[in-house]
């Protein structure tokens, strides 16, 4: 599953961590762990920030976390006008690491900073092409 299938518009089709999209299509949220020093990363990275080693293995994240901040985007960039307005949230994952994604399935008036949330792997359903993403939903 090529990495370029990840996101509504993908800007980095080639990456050392492209297996991420394979796992995502199978419904798994995966990060990386440095084999040498054990440091964990989400989003995944191939080269360890701490010890600079480049051997790593994939580890599964539950998707559970807390909402660190959010905003509702009204003025959308090119390519996203058709889904505006949309709500972006930053989630601190339980196992460490952080991500940004759309908040779906939580009514706007219930979105509160520091609330518990779950990040769920998703596939864009209503289009012929395969496009993968994840959303922030109620736990």
């Amino acid at each position: 599953m090529p990495f370029k299938y990840f996101g509504k518009i993908n800007f980095t089709p080639y990456t050392k961590v492209d297996k991420f999209s394979d796992y995502l299509q199978r419904g798994k949220l995966m990060g990386t762990q440095c084999i040498k020093c054990g440091e964990r990363y989400f989003p995944p990275r191939a080269d360890c920030l701490k010890c600079m080693d480049n051997t790593f293995k994939w580890i599964e994240y539950s998707g559970k976390g807390t909402l660190h901040s959010f905003t509702k985007i009204y003025a959308a960039p090119k390519g996203f006008e058709d889904i505006a307005p949309y709500i972006l949230g930053i989630v601190n994952l339980e196992e460490g690491g952080r991500l940004i994604a759309w908040i779906k399935d939580i009514p706007e008036n219930e979105i509160k900073i520091d609330m518990k949330v779950k990040v769920v792997p998703r596939i864009f359903e209503e289009i012929p092409e395969i496009k993968l993403y994840y959303t922030i939903e109620k736990p």
Partner: protein
């Protein structure tokens, strides 16, 4: 050896569809030379251009600017650090002069942004985070600062009203600045009532994309007095970086590169925040100015909202900030901003700021942030 500024120039910021990027660059360059005492164009031995190239059809700006302003065959190159390109160019000039490689260096910050549509700019500037994991969801520059703002409001109780007061102040002073894009004052209600861009940031919380150019000419202390009675000296320079992505910052309520750069500048200049007579800070969004008060030590962490509420950043307050209108009223031609800030501080320290003069200004500070905080340059200047 000290490094000082001997000439400044500032073009009109705004919608400059009347000029190409090199024509824009010419205006403040000429003004800066005329601002000196008898500096000849041939005396300049290097030209550094601060600009962000992705906005222009013209490739390789320094080449075309150097040719048009007429400094060929002197050395020229680009310095880029997103919205802090202007200050990055000034720091490079400082290093060139301090090391003795060059003696008199002109720095031009220039940018044409309005060759692109609003959606294109939103997309381009939205890619200033981590394109691999963030832009795929449609992040925008205002969106990133909105994420800061929401967290700041959550942790410290900062309000939309306080953010709006920043815009009110900057437009108040911008109305007195003939080079500013926007020359009209605004009311708090106007700001609060403006359209949502990315909650809680409204249209009037955002600086405008603008075209413009500014120039400073710098030299060493041996030559400075030859070309200007009142050179303005660089006392402290700080420069730091932070994670590109908000996903990897320690927190979302401050810009760590700004805190670090400010620390370095204060240490080198041997001054405290309360010693700063006047400052130009990076108010790309109103929340950015509030965070700047805190990151520069003008007020304690979390008290930035109170600072503006108490009018402490007006002339007469503890630390006058952005009394030239800031990015908010001037507009933000990204490459030019850092140089524009510097020209304002120079004016203030010379006593030339007329209606906007901070009485007795002795020590000035510029705070120029790139992108969403991955670079900050803080410069402290003194008469």
């Amino acid at each position: 050896m000290k490094v000082g500024i001997i000439g400044i120039g500032h073009g009109k910021f705004g919608n400059r569809s009347d000029a190409t990027v090199q024509e824009l660059a010419f205006e403040p360059f000429k003004e800066a030379i005329e601002d000196t005492d008898n500096l000849r164009r041939e005396d300049i031995d290097a030209l550094i251009v601060g600009s962000v190239p992705e906005y222009h059809m013209q490739r390789s700006l320094p080449g075309v600017v150097a040719e048009y302003v007429g400094v060929n065959p002197k050395s020229t190159w680009l310095t880029e650090a997103a919205c802090a390109s202007g200050s990055a160019a000034i720091r490079t000039a400082y290093m060139a002069i301090k090391s003795g490689v060059h003696d008199i260096v002109a720095v031009i910050g220039v940018q044409k942004m309005r060759e692109l549509s609003t959606e294109e700019i939103l997309a381009l500037m939205g890619r200033v985070g981590d394109v691999q994991w963030e832009s795929i969801f449609g992040t925008t520059f205002p969106g990133y600062y909105a994420l800061y703002a929401n967290r700041h409001m959550h942790e410290f109780g900062t309000t939309k009203e306080q953010m709006a007061l920043v815009a009110v102040k900057n437009h108040f002073y911008g109305a007195m600045n003939p080079c500013a894009f926007f020359q009209k004052e605004v009311t708090k209600d106007r700001v609060l009532g403006s359209e949502d861009v990315a909650t809680p940031v409204n249209v009037f919380d955002c600086c405008a994309n603008a075209d413009g150019a500014a120039c400073v000419i710098m030299t060493n202390d041996k030559l400075a007095k030859k070309f200007n009675d009142t050179p303005i000296w660089f006392e402290g320079l700080g420069s730091a970086s932070a994670q590109m992505s908000l996903l990897r910052r320690p927190n979302l309520v401050e810009i760590p590169s700004a805190v670090e750069a400010a620390k370095q500048a204060y240490a080198q200049a041997k001054v405290k925040p309360s010693d700063i007579s006047v400052a130009d800070v990076h108010d790309c969004f109103t929340i950015a100015e509030i965070m700047a008060y805190e990151n520069l030590g003008f007020c304690p962490k979390g008290k930035g909202g109170k600072f503006i509420e108490e009018k402490q950043s007006y002339i007469g307050g503890k630390n006058p900030v952005n009394v030239d209108g800031g990015l908010k009223a001037k507009g933000h031609p990204v490459g030019a901003t850092g140089v524009s800030m510097t020209t304002e501080i120079v004016k203030q320290l010379r006593g030339d700021a007329e209606k906007r003069q901070v009485p007795g200004a002795e020590i000035g500070l510029t705070h120029n942030v790139g992108g969403i905080g991955q670079y900050t340059f803080v410069h402290i200047l003194r008469r």
